[in-house]
C-alpha cells in the first residue's frame, strides 16, 4: 500500500513536471530468491532511484532451478545478475554474455568446517566429505581441488567425497558432511544461529585461498548493446542501481526492511536480512560499480588452471566478456 501511494505520488509529480512520457521497461533476473544479497536493486526500486532515471524496472527473483543465463537467452530478461564463472561458461556455450558492471568487489563464498571433525587446514581435506553447491556454483570448488591436487571421485588418501548440498546448512548440523559451502552473508549466519560459535568453526574463504572468483555482476547479451537506446537504458539502470547499493550500505536496517517488504513468500525474517545486509555491505564496499580488469584476469586464470572432465567451465580464454562502456558513462 505504502509503495502504491509512493508510486502514485511520484507518478503525479512526474506528470506535474510536464514530463509524462512512457518509462523505459527493464527486466532484471536475479540469481537467487529475494534477499539482501540484492538489496541495492530493491532499494533503487523502492526509493524511486529507477524512476528518477525514467526506468520501470521489474525484478524477477530466481530460485534453485532458474539459470539466469538461460532466462536471458530465452528473452525473459534484459539484464541478469550472476557469478562470473557461470557467465563465462554460458558465453562459451553460445550465450554471449557481457559484464557491464560489478557491484560486488569481493566474494562471500567459503567452505565452513566443524573444528571437532579435525579439519584445520586444506591439507586435512583428504578422505573427507564436503558439501558443494552445483548449478553453476561448483566451478570455484573444482578449481580449488585441482590446485590442491585432490581427486573428487570418492574419499581416500588423495581424494574427497563430494555431496551435492541443497541450499541450506543441514548437512553440517546433521553430521552428514565435515565441511559445507556457505556464503558469509547467509548460510554462515544460519550455522551460528543454530547454536555453534565462531570458535567451533573453521572457515576457508575462497578469496584468501587464492581461488577467488567474482560474484554478483550485471550481465547483458552482447548484441543488445549495439542498440544505442538499450545501451542508454543500461547506463541509467547501472547508475540508479549503484545509487541503491550505496544507500543500502549506509542504511542497512532500512534496506533489510525494504527487502522483507518485497519478499512475496513471507518467509524472510528482518533479523536475518539485517545480518545479511551488513555482511553484503562488506562485499560491495570496494566497488563503485566498474569491473576491475585485474579481478577479471584472476577469475579467468583460476578457471583455466583447472579445466577437467568434471569442471568444463571454460576451455579457452574468453574475449570481449566485459565492457566499461556502460559503467564509464554511468559513473561520470
Amino acid at each position: 500500500m505504502k509503495r502504491l501511494i509512493a508510486s502514485t505520488l511520484a507518478g503525479a509529480m512526474v506528470f506535474a513536471g510536464g514530463a509524462a512520457w512512457a518509462q523505459d521497461a527493464v527486466t532484471l533476473q536475479l540469481k537467487w530468491v529475494t534477499q539482501a544479497q540484492f538489496a541495492g536493486y530493491y532499494v533503487a526500486k523502492d526509493k524511486g532511484f529507477y524512476e528518477e532515471e525514467n526506468l520501470e524496472v521489474t525484478i524477477k527473483p530466481g530460485g534453485p532451478d532458474i539459470a539466469p543465463e538461460q532466462v536471458i537467452a530465452g528473452g525473459g530478461a534484459d539484464v541478469i545478475t550472476t557469478w562470473m564463472a557461470a557467465g563465462l561458461a554460458a558465453r562459451e556455450r553460445g550465450v554471449p554474455l557481457v559484464n557491464i558492471a560489478q557491484p560486488f568487489k569481493t566474494g562471500g563464498l567459503q567452505l565452513t568446517c566443524l573444528k571437532e571433525t579435525g579439519v584445520e587446514t586444506p591439507e586435512d581435506f583428504a578422505g573427507r566429505t564436503l558439501g558443494v553447491w552445483f548449478f553453476g556454483n561448483e566451478y570455484p570448488f573444482y578449481a580449488w581441488m585441482a590446485k590442491l591436487g585432490l581427486e573428487t571421485d570418492g574419499a581416500d588418501d588423495n581424494g574427497v567425497t563430494v555431496l551435492k548440498q541443497a541450499f541450506n546448512v543441514d548437512p553440517l548440523l546433521q553430521g552428514q558432511a565435515d565441511c559445507i559451502s556457505t556464503m558469509t552473508y547467509n548460510e554462515y549466519g544460519q550455522v551460528l544461529d543454530a547454536g555453534y560459535t565462531a570458535d567451533d568453526l573453521v572457515n576457508f574463504n575462497y578469496l584468501e585461498q587464492g581461488i577467488g572468483m567474482l560474484e554478483d555482476g550485471l550481465y547483458v547479451l552482447e548484441d543488445s548493446l549495439e542498440d544505442p537506446a538499450f545501451a542508454d537504458k543500461m547506463v541509467r539502470f547501472v547508475r540508479a542501481s549503484m545509487k541503491g547499493w550505496k544507500y543500502a550500505a549506509e542504511n542497512p536496517e532500512e534496506a533489510a526492511q525494504i527487502v522483507v517488504d518485497n519478499d512475496t513468500t513471507g518467509a524472510q525474517t528482518l533479523a536475518h536480512q539485517t545480518y545479511m545486509m551488513s555482511e553484503v555491505a562488506k562485499l560491495t564496499a570496494g566497488s563503485n560499480g566498474a569491473l576491475d580488469p585485474a579481478d577479471y584476469e584472476q577469475t579467468v586464470a583460476t578457471l583455466l588452471s583447472a579445466v577437467s572432465e568434471e569442471n568444463p567451465a571454460i576451455t579457452t580464454e574468453p574475449e570481449g566478456a566485459w565492457t566499461h562502456m556502460i559503467s564509464d558513462q554511468a559513473l561520470q
Binding site: 536475479l30 530468491v33 529475494t34 524477477k60 527473483p61 530466481g62 530460485g63 534453485p64 532451478d65 532458474i66 539459470a67 538461460q70 532466462v71 530465452g74 528473452g75 525473459g76 571437532e116 541443497a166 541450499f167 541450506n168 546448512v169 543441514d170 548440523l173 546433521q174 553430521g175 544460519q190 543454530a194 547454536g195 560459535t197 567451533d200 519478499d263 512475496t264 513468500t265 513471507g266 518467509a267 524472510q268 536475518h272
Partner: protein, 304 residues
C-alpha cells in the same frame, strides 16, 4: 459416526508414535547443545556422532523436555506444527503474504485450472484411444512415455520458453499441473471403457445399437467406477503439479514457494506446517471428488 471413531483411533495411534519419536530424532542436537552450554551430559565412547540415539535418550532423561521445543528440530513435535499452523492461518490476515491461507489460495487456483484441463484432456484421449485404432496404436505408448519425463526438470524450461513468448503466472503452472493429472485419468478411463464384457456388448449388438449409443449407454456408465478413483489420484497429482510449478518460478507465492523458502533457511517447523497445509488442501479436494463420486454412483445404481 463409526467412521469418526475409527479415524480418531488411527489418528491417536499416529500421534502417540509421533510424540514418542521426537526425543529420539532430536536428542543428538539437544545433547550437543547442552554439552556446549556446560550441562552434564553422558556421552558414550566414540563421541556424539557415532552414539546411538536410543542410548542417549535413556542415559539423559533430563534432556527429553528440550527435544520438544527446539527451534529447528529434525522432527518437530505435533504441538509445534499445530502452533505454527494456527499462527499462520488464524493469526494473520488472509491477504497477508505471511498467511498460509493466502498461499494455499494461490496454489489452489493453479491446481483447479490444471485439473480441469487435465481431466478433459484425459477423458477425450481415452475415448479416442478406445474408439480409434490408429490413435490407440500410435498415441498410447507416448502417453505412457510422457509420464516418465521428470516434469520438474522441464518446469524451468517450460517457464523460460513461455517467458520468451510473454506468458507468465498461472498458465505455466496449470500446464505442469495438467501434465501430471491427465495420465491417471487416461489409464483409469481406458480401463473402464473397455470393462463391459462380451455378453453386454453382444446385447447391444442385438439391439442394433450404433457406436455412439453403445458409448453413452454402456461404455461410459461402466467406466464410472474406474474413473472416480483415477480422478482422486488426478486431483492429488494436480496439487503436486501446481506446487512443483511454483518452485522454479522464482519462489514468488504459493505453498511450493513456502516449502522452498522453509527449506533454504532450515525452518523445519515451517516446512511441516506448509506440508500439512498442502495435505489439508488435498484432503478437501479429494473429499470433494469423493462426494461427487458417491452421488453419481448412487444415481447410476452402483451403490451396494
Amino acid at each position: 459416526m463409526r467412521t469418526m471413531q475409527s479415524v480418531l483411533i488411527v489418528v491417536g495411534g499416529i500421534m502417540a508414535i509421533w510424540l514418542a519419536a521426537v526425543p529420539f530424532m532430536n536428542i543428538k542436537w539437544e545433547a550437543n547443545m547442552a554439552s556446549r552450554a556446560g550441562v552434564e551430559v553422558s556421552i558414550p565412547e566414540g563421541g556424539l556422532r557415532r552414539a546411538s540415539a536410543v542410548a542417549l535418550v535413556f542415559t539423559n532423561p533430563h534432556l527429553i523436555p528440550g527435544t520438544y521445543v527446539q527451534e529447528k528440530p529434525r522432527l518437530p513435535g505435533p504441538q509445534q506444527v499445530v502452533a505454527e499452523l494456527w499462527a499462520t492461518t488464524a493469526g494473520e490476515a488472509v491477504t497477508s503474504n505471511r498467511s498460509l491461507v493466502y498461499h494455499a489460495g494461490v496454489t489452489l487456483t493453479g491446481t483447479v485450472a490444471g485439473f480441469l484441463f487435465g481431466t478433459a484432456l484425459g477423458v477425450l484421449l481415452a475415448v479416442a484411444i478406445v474408439h480409434v485404432r490408429v490413435i490407440d496404436a500410435s498415441i498410447m505408448p507416448w502417453v505412457i512415455a510422457s509420464q516418465t519425463i521428470p516434469i520438474l526438470a522441464l518446469a524451468p524450461m517450460i517457464i523460460v520458453v513461455m517467458n520468451s513468448v510473454g506468458i507468465t503466472g498461472l498458465v505455466p503452472k496449470a500446464i505442469i499441473s495438467a501434465y501430471l493429472s491427465f495420465f491417471p485419468v487416461v489409464v483409469g478411463m481406458v480401463k473402464g471403457l473397455r470393462s463391459p464384457d462380451a455378453m453386454q456388448m453382444d446385447l447391444l449388438k442385438t439391439y442394433n445399437a450404433s457406436a455412439a449409443q453403445t458409448f453413452w449407454k454402456l461404455r461410459l456408465p461402466a467406466a464410472a467406477p474406474f474413473l472416480f478413483p483415477s480422478l482422486k489420484i488426478g486431483i492429488a497429482a494436480s496439487l503436486v503439479g501446481a506446487i512443483v510449478g511454483e518452485l522454479p518460478t522464482g519462489a514468488v507465492a504459493g505453498l511450493g514457494a513456502r516449502l522452498l523458502a522453509g527449506s533454504y533457511y532450515g525452518q523445519t517447523v515451517q516446512i511441516w506446517s506448509a506440508l500439512f497445509g498442502a495435505a489439508i488442501l488435498a484432503a478437501i479436494l479429494v473429499g470433494a471428488v469423493g462426494l461427487i463420486q458417491a452421488f453419481a454412483l448412487k444415481r447410476m445404481g452402483f451403490a451396494r
